[in-house]
């Protein structure tokens, strides 16, 4: 048994309001550099829809993740030999246009335009070419179902659903899906990197790119089925979500979680048996993958496990954090969080509590003193089709989704009866496989959602770390420091003080002799 600790995140989709605050704060923190304008390490998609990049879930075409072939787990885009043979041209690379061509606006024109009959406008300018462009696709193009009556048909999660009906206006449904890197237990991006530049941190499972080792072979981008490894087209290096490791190491939540106004995110660690991962990812039937992944997680309350974990060098405070981990509670104990697309076989570590749809509405507002015979069949009539959620979170197994929704509904009816002091048919809880204590705890974690309950983040033991200076540049992102003197690059480097000295404060500065 090889015990590893792994950070995970759970997002409660019932509470996501699609405000994109997570995307904005993430982008402001990490991706406002040249070459990264188009990247959203965190993005929020409206589902159904083709998403960002377009049709990222269509891995029959995109070839991300793993599949089982001849009884063996193999990279879908091809193994080692095929990668090296295709190194000069990656057959399955997703182009920047599928994300979107980054642009800015010709703001100068607003100021410099001479007097005219019409208002001056700021036309969009491509950041790739510096020329005027027509915007035909962009981030969140499908926000709140915009255009989805067209694009939504290409959403792979719609397979096996009666599409015709679901895109009728009266039948439409939608939900938000915030996405970051999954920091998988069995990462196919790491496995696809020929240079060995991508790695998983042994201590906490965070997946990073060593920018000094990346050689621009771009197979990681194809390898990731979630399309969460990006290509910086200016530095020619891969970049991705770092799980905000500088914050995490200090016990703080990621910036997307910290700023989430809906408080939908939970961060914690799980202990898992690394020796079981390959076997779990290789199970024949896709529908068994969810359970197989759960099997890899270890019980942090088991004294035997604790003893072994200590022996293998996992610190005590980390074992304690694993016991209080909201991720462990939601995924393993309460079993209401589910992995996104387990069928990609990467064993993702960002899990989701599926949304209930407008709950009161589905029950006609009559939610008091309901019997299980009324509540549970109603779940099948929810606005968001169970099969759709099943295609997203359970490899098509609708029973898994039904179980989770039953629990969520049971918890709500129970808590409603408690709060309003109404009679309650306890068989509802029993049928959902719950006890009053579990319902109580679920309620606390999902509805009250205290900061300290949502984020149980053990600090990293930096006192044991090696030479941090030597590790510089291997932590996932870097700035453009390419051999400037020898490359004769055509991009001058802006001196941050230049603006200041060239007379930005001229009006305040009495001595203007120094300014331009």
């Amino acid at each position: 048994m090889k015990i590893k600790a792994q950070f995970g995140m759970v997002m409660n989709l019932d509470k996501c309001i699609g405000c994109h605050t997570c995307s904005v704060t993430c982008s402001n923190t990490w991706t406002n550099r040249p070459g990264t304008e188009y990247m959203y390490w965190n993005n929020v998609e409206t589902k159904p829809g083709v998403g960002y990049p377009r049709e990222w879930e269509n891995n029959d075409e995109r070839k991300g993740g793993w599949h089982v072939k001849d009884g063996k787990l193999q990279l879908r885009a091809g193994g080692r030999v095929s990668k090296l043979l295709n190194i000069f041209y990656n057959q399955n690379l997703v182009q920047i246009d599928e994300y979107y061509e980054p642009w800015t606006y010709d703001y100068e024109n607003l100021i410099n335009s001479p007097e005219k009959d019409h208002q001056p406008v700021a036309r969009p300018i491509s950041q790739l070419t510096g020329e005027y462009m027509d915007i035909t696709w962009g981030p969140n193009w499908e926000d709140d179902l915009a255009g989805v009556h067209e694009t939504g048909k290409r959403d792979p999660n719609m397979r096996n659903l009666d599409e015709q009906i679901k895109f009728e206006f009266e039948e439409t449904f939608m939900m938000y899906l915030p996405r970051i890197c999954e920091h998988c237990q069995n990462p196919s991006c790491v496995s696809s990197c020929p240079s060995g530049a991508m790695y998983k941190r042994e201590e906490d499972g965070i997946v990073l790119v060593d920018q000094d080792t990346c050689r621009s072979w771009r197979f990681c981008m194809t390898g990731c089925p979630y399309k969460k490894v990006y290509f910086n087209w200016k530095t020619h290096k891969a970049e991705k979500c770092t799980f905000c490791f500088p914050r995490i190491e200090n016990g703080q939540p990621t910036i997307c979680s910290e700023t989430c106004v809906g408080r939908i995110r939970y961060i914690g660690i799980v202990l898992y048996d690394a020796d079981k991962v390959l076997e779990a990812a290789s199970v024949e039937d896709e529908k068994d993958l969810y359970e197989a992944q759960l099997e890899t997680f270890l019980d942090p309350f088991d004294p035997e496990i604790q003893k072994e974990a200590r022996k293998q060098g996992i610190p005590d405070d980390w074992i304690e954090a694993a016991q209080h981990s909201p991720v462990y509670k939601l995924a393993v104990e309460q079993k209401i969080a589910l992995p996104l697309h387990p069928e990609y076989r990467t064993m993702p570590m960002v899990w989701y509590i599926p949304p209930l749809s407008p709950f009161m509405n589905a029950l006609g507002g009559q939610v008091d003193s309901l019997s299980p015979d009324v509540i549970f069949p109603t779940i099948n009539q929810f606005r968001i089709p169970i099969d759709y959620l099943a295609n997203m979170f359970a490899a098509g197994d609708s029973d898994v989704i039904r179980n989770v929704l039953e629990k969520l509904v049971a918890m709500r009816s129970y808590m409603r009866s408690v709060q309003l002091d109404k009679p309650f048919d306890k068989s509802i809880l029993e049928r959902a496989g719950m006890t009053e204590e579990i319902a109580e705890e679920m309620y606390k974690l999902s509805a009250i959602a205290k900061y300290d309950d949502r984020y149980v983040i053990p600090k990293s033991h930096r006192e044991d770390a090696g030479d941090m200076y030597a590790q510089q540049g291997s932590g996932g992102f870097d700035f453009m420091e390419a051999c400037r003197s020898c490359m004769g690059g055509n991009q001058g480097d802006a001196d941050p003080m230049e603006f200041y000295e060239s007379g930005f404060w001229r009006e305040l500065d009495e001595d203007s002799s120094k300014s331009v």
Binding site: L75, R80, V81, L84, I87, F88, Y89, L93, Q95, I96, L128, T129, G130, E131, N186, P187, V190, S191, P194, S195, G196, Y199, K200, R201, E202, E203, Q211, D212, T213, R215, S216, W217, R218, M221, F231, W233, K234, T235, H236, K237, S460, D464, A465, G466, D467, Y469, A470, Q471, Q472, G473, S474, D478, E481, A482, C483, C486, M487, G488, G489, N490
Partner: protein, 240 residues
């Protein structure tokens, strides 16, 4: 043998090779971040497909062709009973085919770089310098093969340029050999050494990063912050 010959066929090659070797060591130790293939496939791939594939496979074959023709002594071929006719048949037809692939592929890549705005705007001076120098070397070399050797030229580079090159590499230079070579071959050799001199400062360094290690590596790479052997990394940082 004039002083000019000494410069071209003795001094310059050594200057060039010195820059080549030291330049790579310097760049590797100071600029890991800039050491990449600089792929632009993410911005444009339709036109890259044929150009890049033809060019790269062609040039790999051409490289091994040069090894066989220049670095391997003719005597070895004779020893294995490979006659001149057999050798030249292979060199002209297979080498020629690889040459066509390189020339066509390289030309497509050049066209792509200058005509597609996204690529042109994001190309650095070094990209153009590398591409054009490489293009000149390739075109002259290809002309020699097609226009001279294949049309029955008397000159056998295996008994002139081969020994000269091996002399350079073994520090027993014989510049007089090159002095009498046909001008086409002289130009090819000279421009090649210009290319070697600029090589370490361009994207061409990615040639040395062909990730063969991947073939027998385990798929998932872990790194440990605590016990990870950082001596190599550390050395690199101390180089400054």
């Amino acid at each position: 043998m004039s002083n000019l010959d000494i410069f071209f066929w003795l001094v310059f090659p050594y200057i060039s090779l010195t820059i080549f070797v030291l330049g790579h060591i310097y760049r590797y130790n100071t600029d890991q971040f800039g050491w990449t293939a600089k792929s632009s496939q993410f911005l444009e791939q339709k036109r890259l497909r044929i150009g890049s594939t033809l060019f790269h496979y062609g040039i790999i074959f051409v490289f091994f062709g040069h090894v066989a023709g220049i670095l391997v002594p003719k005597a070895l071929f004779d020893f294995f009973g490979i006659t001149d006719d057999m050798y030249h048949f292979g060199a002209i037809w297979f080498g020629g085919a690889a040459g066509v692939a390189v020339v066509v592929g390289g030309f497509l890549l050049f066209l792509r770089r200058v005509s597609i705005k996204r690529i042109a705007k994001n190309s650095s001076v070094s990209d153009y310098v590398a591409l054009v120098t490489l293009g000149v070397v390739v075109l002259i070399g290809f002309t020699n093969t097609v226009g001279y050797t294949a049309t029955g030229g008397e000159f056998d580079y295996r008994v002139v340029i081969g020994p000269w090159m091996r002399g350079i590499l073994t520090f027993q230079p014989a510049p007089e050999l090159m002095a009498n070579a046909p001008i086409g071959f002289q130009l090819h050799v000279f421009t090649a050494f210009v290319l070697f001199a600029i090589w370490p400062f361009t994207r061409l360094v990615h040639v040395f990063s062909l990730p063969l290690k991947y073939l027998n590596r385990r798929y998932v790479v872990y790194r440990n912050q605590h016990t990870h052997d950082l001596s190599k990394l550390k050395k690199r940082k101390e180089f400054h």
